[in-house]
């Protein structure tokens, strides 16, 4: 045993490894990505680990392992669970033999996500238990408990951390090496493992009965806790409990109830914890899940308790909670005066806005710019997707008209094409997203004779989530090297009319490729191939010759590279940021940019 200072995601990984997990699969997505990376990094005799091609694949790989009696964990972000919901919903009926833990990381804010959906609701929807850790230390313990509950009740179990738990660091006592557990292997039984209406009917009834038992057992669970004894109580879950606890350190008499297992509701625990309570504040993030559960419980038992929270406007519906909102909201509820403790900020200059931007030298900037130039003056729609390149929406590029979910750009371009055929419909999709969920859309386009241009922004990595490998990179987490899967061959095999591969940093060639594809009917694809600048070393840097620069600032106004700024009316390049991509030098009208600096 030794102390490891790890991120919450690392704690989840160590918890699973110390539970003897046999197989871990997942798809990258902030805030969950570091779980799999940590599993892969530690010595793990006998544990198989993979980045799957998407969350649905990951869920199914893990499900089979659990059928075989192995312990399996699958990781994803909250929207990934939407992709994996098809297998999960059925799996909830079928059940498992080995412990199976589904880690779905929620993202209040949202900080790096499309939605503020609440995985506790998903657990209730699927009728399976969910654990909600309030700290990395708790996440470490809970993942191990989740395996035990999963095996005892033969059901997949969800662990639902949120961003601030995933990305918080703490020290965890963990073994220095791990070994996976022995397991029985798959025992054939088609009455058990093949989902049919009859099986679902029977198991549905069994599940509802079982969940009452689980709620009863969880009523004695050590992470459902209560402190203080006031008539006014605060109930908090997840990291909101940590914020509430931070504030209530100074008010230890206030009753603070933590619900570590929101579903099935630990009713006996809550009824006891609420004895003598007249008013309760539900301090939680995302949806009013505990608040609504409590209203049901209070109605069922005819209790006289007023419930405050999101539904009463006392806690905001959207965004994160934090220590400050805990102080404000709980003080108001308790009728406490609290003084501001920080330095006066009156007269402070307003800090400049710093929206996230494509990195200096990012090849996506060049790809977007090439399409923009080629389509200048033409009616065109630009359907974006999920990844760094969503940032192509920012001015001055302004090249993302839509972004919905993983893979949607390819199919939405088709919808635009069928409704407004006079426009050129483009989709932009990254290489990892293409493998995850773009291929089906391409097949749909060819099959239904759409007229679109699919732009694959191939930077040879999964950049946004921290540079994970994918099927096109030639390596995976277990064995390297593996055969690269060719995006070009996949497109050709699907019957795409024309596939062009071009270096986006060669501006003229890239523009020509776009113009050529726009002249042809059918499904065309352009693979803009250039590696992510975060994983390559720049071989040169450019500078502006201030004598030649005429101060037209075209470079700044057209591409918005963060390395470019204005000093004394002329463009200058920040040599700390420049990667020498050369895009600005190619569009400079007076050839003032070049050379090494």
């Amino acid at each position: 045993m030794s102390k490891q200072y790890v991120m919450g995601n690392g704690a989840i990984a160590l918890g699973a490894l110390s539970a003897g997990v046999n197989l871990v699969s997942g798809y990258p997505g902030t805030p969950s990505s570091e779980i799999i990376e940590t599993v892969a990094k530690y010595p793990h005799e006998g544990t198989y680990v993979e980045w799957s091609v998407n969350e649905k694949a990951a869920m199914e790989v893990a499900a089979a392992a659990a059928y075989a009696g192995a312990r399996a964990m699958v990781t994803m972000k909250q929207v990934g669970l939407n992709v994996a919901s098809d297998p999960l919903m059925s799996l909830a009926y079928v059940g498992v033999k080995g412990g199976m833990v589904v880690v779905a990381a929620d993202d209040p804010g949202p900080i790096s996500s499309q939605t503020e959906q609440d995985t506790r609701r998903f657990a209730e929807f699927a009728r399976i238990p969910v654990f909600d850790p309030s700290s990395p230390e708790e996440a470490f313990e809970m993942v191990r408990d989740a395996f035990d509950y999963s095996e005892k009740y033969r059901t997949p179990v969800i662990l639902r951390p949120t961003t601030r738990v995933d990305h918080a660091y703490a020290s965890i006592d963990a073994p220095d090496s791990f070994s996976a557990r022995a397991y029985e292997g798959f025992v054939k039984d088609s009455k058990k493992w093949v989902i049919f209406p009859r099986l679902s009917f029977m198991n549905h009834a069994m599940i509802e009965k079982r969940n009452i038992e689980i709620g009863e057992e969880l009523s004695s669970y050590r992470f459902n806790t209560v402190s203080g004894s006031s008539q006014k109580a605060v109930i908090a879950t997840g990291v909101s409990y940590a914020y509430a606890g931070e504030f209530l350190k100074e008010h230890p008499d206030v009753r603070l109830i933590k619900v570590g297992t929101p579903y099935p509701l630990p009713e006996r625990f809550l009824l006891k914890a609420l004895e003598g309570v007249s008013e309760v504040l539900c301090f939680e993030e995302l949806s009013p899940y505990i608040e609504e559960s409590l209203l049901k419980l209070i109605g069922k038992h005819h209790l006289s308790i007023d419930v405050y929270g999101k539904l009463t406007g006392d806690v905001p519906h959207s965004g994160e909670n934090d220590t400050d909102s805990a102080r404000r909201i709980i003080s108001r509820f308790l009728g406490l005066e609290t003084a501001e403790n920080s330095i006066g900020l009156s007269g402070a200059p307003n800090p400049p806005a710093r929206p996230p931007v494509l990195c200096a030298g990012c090849p996506h900037r060049a790809s977007f710019y090439a399409v923009k130039r080629a389509m200048k003056g033409k009616k065109a729609f630009f359907c974006g997707d999920i990844g760094c390149y969503t940032l192509g929406n920012a001015m001055p590029l302004d090249m993302v008209d839509t972004c919905l979910c993983m893979g949607a750009g390819v199919t939405m371009a088709q919808g635009f094409n069928h409704t407004e055929p006079d426009a050129v419909a483009f989709s932009f999709i990254g290489d990892s997203t293409f493998f995850a969920s773009g291929i089906t859309g391409v097949v749909n386009a060819v099959y239904n004779a759409a007229d679109i241009i699919v732009c694959v922004l191939d930077n040879s990595t999964t950049a946004m989530t921290g540079h994970q490998p994918h099927p096109g990179t030639g390596r995976n987490l277990m064995a390297a090297p593996v055969d690269k899967i060719s995006i070009e061959k996949l497109l050709l095999a699907a019957g795409v009319t024309k596939v062009v591969t071009v270096d986006p940093l060669d501006l003229d060639a890239a523009i020509a490729a776009v113009r050529e594809c726009a002249e042809i009917r059918g499904v065309k694809a352009i693979i803009f191939k250039s590696p992510c600048v975060a994983i390559t070393k720049p071989d040169k840097k450019l500078r502006v010759n201030s004598e030649k620069c005429i101060g037209c600032l075209r470079c700044i106004k057209e591409i918005g590279c963060p390395a470019l700024s204005v000093t004394d009316g002329k463009a200058v390049i920040d040599e700390n940021l420049c990667t020498g991509c050369g895009l600005c030098s190619q569009l400079c009208a007076v050839k003032a940019i070049g050379g090494d600096c």
Binding site: K3, S135, R327, P562, N576
Partner: protein, 198 residues
């Protein structure tokens, strides 16, 4: 010991390494440590913060408003953005060199001077200059370790210099040891003097 330290800057400035070194050093001296980082889309050129909480009774991974003993700011406007986290008698170490916002995001003419004036007038503050401090090492990338030196030298870090040096050697790749130790020493000198010699 109980100490809350906040580190802030702009994505890419190396704040995460600085917070890792502080956390590891505090643990070496037998303290319980919790910390939290900005990760994900916000990292790309956006404001970033690290919260390092030293001591047993830290409940939340985030420092409460008005709770930080020390604010280490890699950039003037980011210091102002996060000043609300500082205790009334807290201490700020701030880099005077601005990171200009992306050309079209607004903020033309931003040079960080008004921010530095505001900070020096309103709180206990040590202003350092990353350009001057890092010039001998050939890259502003050494600023993260240099500013840790300034914090240690000022006596505000709550961790011994030698402990921090030990963690630099453990965490930073070996080929960068010499320059990082020199940058750290340069920072310590500034911290000890209580003002930047420039």
């Amino acid at each position: 010991m109980k100490k809350d330290i906040m580190i802030c800057g702009v994505g890419g400035q190396g704040t995460v390494l600085a917070s890792k070194i502080i956390a590891a050093s505090a643990m070496d001296e037998g303290n319980a440590v919790h910390s939290a980082e900005t990760i994900g889309m916000a990292q790309r050129g956006g404001p970033v913060t690290s919260h390092v909480r030293i001591g047993e009774d830290a409940f939340s991974p985030l420092i409460p408003i008005g709770g930080a003993d020390l604010l280490i700011a890699f950039e003037p406007s980011e210091a102002v953005r996060n000043l609300k986290y500082l205790k009334k008698d807290g201490f700020v170490i701030v880099n005077r060199v601005p990171v200009k916002p992306t050309s079209l995001a607004g903020g033309e003419g931003y040079d960080g001077k008004a921010e530095i004036d505001f900070l020096t007038a309103s709180c206990n503050c040590l202003v350092v200059d990353s350009d001057a401090l890092c010039a001998p090492f050939g890259s502003s990338k050494f600023f993260n370790v240099a500013v840790l030196g300034a914090a240690a030298g000022s006596g505000r870090l709550g961790v011994a210099e030698s402990t921090v040096r030990g963690e630099i050697l453990r965490i930073v790749p070996e080929r960068f040891h010499e320059k990082n130790l020199a940058a750290f020493a340069a920072g310590v000198k500034i911290g000890e003097n209580g003002h930047a010699d420039q």
